[in-house]
Amino acid sequence: MIEILATGALSTVQDLGRFGVLRYGVGTSGAMDDLALAIGNILLGNDSNAAGIEVPILPFRVRFTTDADFALTGADCEATLDGQPVPPWWCRHARQGQVLALGVPRSGARAYLSVAGGIDVEPVLGSRSTQMRGNFGGFEGRPLKKGDALKTALRQGELTPVSGISSSGFGVRPPQLGLPLTLSGSQEQIPVRVLPAGEYEGYTAQSLEAFWQQPWQVTPQSDRYGYRLEGPGLQAARPMEMRSHGIVPGVIQVPHSGQPIIQLRDAQPSGGYPKVGTVIEADLWRLGQARIGQSLRFIRVDHAQASAALEEKALYLAQLQQAVQMQRKIWNS
């Protein structure tokens, strides 16, 4: 069990998402940085869809009320366990009573705390993710607050099912190194790959050129629902009236202002704004770590490239899992 000692307003329990219920109006929810959550679960030998805690705002402190293995992935946020530094992308053992504190992130926007076995909340419609509109899933259908006690999927007194984590623990390289995506000329901007969508050709050639060439800043009106961007703007060649239709996380909608909004995990699962493109599923994790004020750059890809990117991500995770299992064998032998 873990007890929340301090948290910002928007820490939530998330797994990889709620799928197959879009036709009831239920969006996916799920971790904004799905790769970080997946790596946390790999480090702990958890089920690949085990739930963790997504922490977007600090401070965040928890007390382990039982012995537990845990992993910290995502944003690098100067974490300490009873004052001892815990590196990012790391898993280790915590003893009963120890306090884990997350500091101000040096990079990235969201940290993920995973525990051996996963956070034990009841799955609703097939997922443990928190659904904000309608308030279900996750922990009581709401963000976490001080005093909340979360069960882990292990019974009291039991250690991790895979065990083999030394007290100092071990870690992996950040995925930015394993799945690099770089853009010549800028270290500051975050590149993400975009597949053009239905109304792409409805925008002027000049504004589309700027869409690909110019940076788009993530404005303060950005959260799990969507990122509102500020940039050169998109000009429609003529007004476009859309009928409400299903959308997926990553869809870039363009309201009348011409300043796009990337719909994300908590977005409505349907929309009526014209769509210029979709940030490919394989790159949603990069968006999940984009901070307010940072700028994005869009890289145009076609369907084959978007598919290949998804395969590349799956392969990366499979190889990481293999390496982690190997590491455990060495310890246990």
């Binding site: 799928f19 009831y24 419609l125 239905g198 997926v248 978007a306 598919s307």
Partner: protein, 236 residues
Amino acid sequence: MKPSTKLREIPSPTQPGSDAHALQISLLGAKAILFEAPGAMDLPQQRRIWDLAQRLADWPEVAEVVPGMANLMLVLRQPPSDIASVEGALRRAWEESVELHIEGRHLALDVIYGGEGGPHLADVVAHTGLSVDDIVQMHAAPLYTVYALGSHPGYCYLGGMDPRIATPRRKVPVVRLPGGSVSIGGEQTGVSASDGPSGWNTIGHTQMRFFDPRREPPAILAPGDTIRFNIAKVIK
């Protein structure tokens, strides 16, 4: 290779000189495909969308079929290796589709129009130039059909509103409206299923729980069901 936006060159509603909606098939990332039916957004067309949804749900590679308003989103389990063949199959399935008549359930909802639960009734009056009584009568007259679900858990897109009371969406969305809000957005009307933000004009309120995540299915209403609004009270 030049990345293509549309899977095939199809006259699009955005092209100059075409005022009708044309059939369009487009990509939403690597795994989702949006099919937009040509022509009107009316009940006969929507019945073909429901039929298409049933046909596609049987395809083994399909993860989910999501009907919209005269359109449908297809979510596949894996990115298709041959996108053109999926598009061809989708087009054939549409050509074969027929009007599916669903004997859905019928719901009568008591609505209190105006007052605290209908804060934007005056804006609809201002936009349409009609009286409160006319608006309420026109809103409560039709038998509405649930075309599709979307927006938020349990929310129903309804077809059949009288176009005379159509009112544009609000410039600034309202941050929090209670569940059960009856509102008008453009030429559509609907009832919110839970508390949340809305850009529509709320004209009334009804007591109804449209969604229960622990129920199977979780949404009370489904495409093909019908709703009639009863005028419980009009607060001026």
